[in-house]
């Protein structure tokens, strides 16, 4: 943690709602993940202060700790940002800014960098427009007005956003092509989804034996990471994705559309939940995950992996499962780090995936047929190959892989 990065956390809660200690704990976790040293945490239960979001006295109290930044849980309007900055000369962040800051430090691929830039610009655009409007207050034509440079700033942001959106659209199209190609190669696509820091990357490593970076901190994974896995002859590609978080703003989901489409177009979704959380938090995180999955447009079947069960006893696990049974389809208790329950999970994945169909293909003896046979050895499970007057192949495979043969019109194909 950087000693220069100090912050005071501020949270305003609505007096008509019951206090929620989880909000501050989550904000603290995010601040630590972004590398801030938290000097103080300030709560206030009051109605919204339209000028400063929280009471003015509370901001003065926060400033007395001399932090580098003030971090608000509540979303700040452009006007509130302007007022706090001009009144207290403070550098401020709200929760969305903080998430974006974490994303910016972790983004490693070009796609992730573009997504973070788009999300940042989507957040900044209305702020810049408002700042410009405030700057222009009381302006007289020709005197002390905002110059052409200031005027064009907002339009420049919009242009850049349009350019990034076009680039991300291309990335999304490439992703779609890639998924189609993978299906034609006989793979089933399975996506890992869930609340941030639920243990998705650790689970990917345990299931596939790979060494993807997995840490006990939120948003370790930003770009999708795919690894291969085979369960009883089913060739599977398991994709790890970015974690969800409560109250994700719509623009952030839109910016990460190309990444989230990996979940939306998967054949099976593995929803990962952290069983070490208290029952209320576990339920809340699953609710947030269901909302995010709905926003992604998921229609695939789902398995809920109740991860990190090695730290709790059976009675506690059973009680927690009972509390979330309406939110957890096909629950499986597992522990990615100890390997507990992974065999049952593999069995459940196998049951949920579409069974491979058996086909019989007849092909004449041509060089194309033989190269097709060689491809089929890679993409399907060949049960029998007869070299008679013509080539007769009996195999088990995916519909998409068979469609490619049909397209090439090599010979008639019949389903058994």
């Amino acid at each position: 943690m950087n000693d220069d990065k100090t912050a005071v956390l501020l949270l305003r809660e609505n007096p008509s709602k019951s206090p929620d200690p989880y909000k501050m704990a989550e904000l603290r976790g995010l601040a630590n993940a972004a590398g801030y040293r938290v000097l103080a945490e300030i709560h206030q239960r009051r109605d919204l202060d339209h000028r400063f979001q929280i009471g003015k006295g509370k901001i003065a109290e926060a400033m007395s700790h001399s932090p580098k930044k003030l971090i608000f849980y509540n979303a700040l309007s452009p006007g509130q940002v302007f007022n706090i900055q001009s009144e207290f000369s403070a550098q401020i962040l709200d929760r969305f800014n903080l998430i974006l800051e974490i994303f910016a430090t972790r983004a490693a691929t070009r796609e992730a960098k573009l997504q973070v830039e788009l999300a940042t610009l989507s957040y900044d655009a209305p702020q810049v427009r408002n700042a410009l409007a405030l700057q222009k207050t009381g302006e007289q034509p020709g005197f002390c007005g905002a110059g052409a440079y200031d005027q064009s700033m907002y339009h420049d942001i919009r242009k850049r956003m349009a350019k990034i959106r076009t680039e991300l659209k291309d990335v999304e199209m490439m992703g779609e092509d890639r998924r189609q190609r993978r299906r034609e190669m006989g793979f089933d696509l399975v996506a890992l989804a869930g609340y941030t820091n639920a243990g998705k990357s650790t689970l990917l490593n345990s299931l596939t034996g790979s060494v993807v970076t997995a840490k006990d901190q939120p948003f370790t994974t930003l770009s999708p990471t795919t690894r291969a896995l085979e369960i009883k002859g089913h060739k599977i590609l398991l994709t790890d994705t970015v974690g969800f978080i409560d109250d994700l703003p719509h623009f952030l989901i839109k910016a990460f559309q190309s990444t989230l489409s990996e979940i939306a177009h998967a054949d099976l979704v593995l929803l990962v939940a952290d069983m070490k959380d208290s029952p209320e938090i576990l339920r809340r995180k699953l609710l947030a995950s269901h909302k995010a999955l709905w926003d992604c447009g998921v229609t695939a079947p789902m398995i809920t992996i109740l991860n990190k069960v090695d730290g709790i006893d059976e009675t506690e696990a059973a009680a927690k499962m009972e509390g979330i049974e309406d939110l957890a389809p096909n629950p499986v208790l597992a522990s990615a780090s100890s390997g507990q329950g992974l065999e049952e999970l593999q069995e459940r994945i196998y049951e949920q995936l579409q069974p491979l169909q058996e086909y019989q293909i007849r092909m004449p003896y041509t060089p194309e047929s033989l190269s097709e046979l060689s491809r089929l050895y890679e993409t399907a499970e060949l049960l029998q190959v007869s070299y008679g007057e013509e080539l007769v192949i009996r195999l088990r495979g995916k519909k998409e892989a068979m469609a490619k043969i049909q397209g090439a019109s090599l010979s008639e194909m019949s389903t058994e």
């Binding site: 709602k17 609710l287 999955l293 709905w294 789902m302 309406d326 389809p329």
Partner: protein, 106 residues
Amino acid sequence: MVCAVVSARVSPIFIEKINVVRIVPHVAEAVDLNTVADLTVRACMCLPGIVVAESGDFYNQEIWRVKCILGRDFKYPETLAERTAIELAHHISLAGRRLIIDPRER
């Protein structure tokens, strides 16, 4: 306006069975929370289970308040299946309105 009710049995992600679909047309001078609540109570009459509705439909009121107004168990959508059921009701309501509306007003 048209209120559509879908009475369904749901699993966490899918609608398992649709028991009843009911469409209730209503004409009102203005729409407010009382009008919406009355219409909801009338439309859900004799249907068992918990009433689930979009938070916007009840003016983002807290759940306990809506429960008191309706006089029966209520919640906002939580799972994928509940959201699908609400979307289904929205589609039915819109289609119903288009069907019964005076063609000159279309």
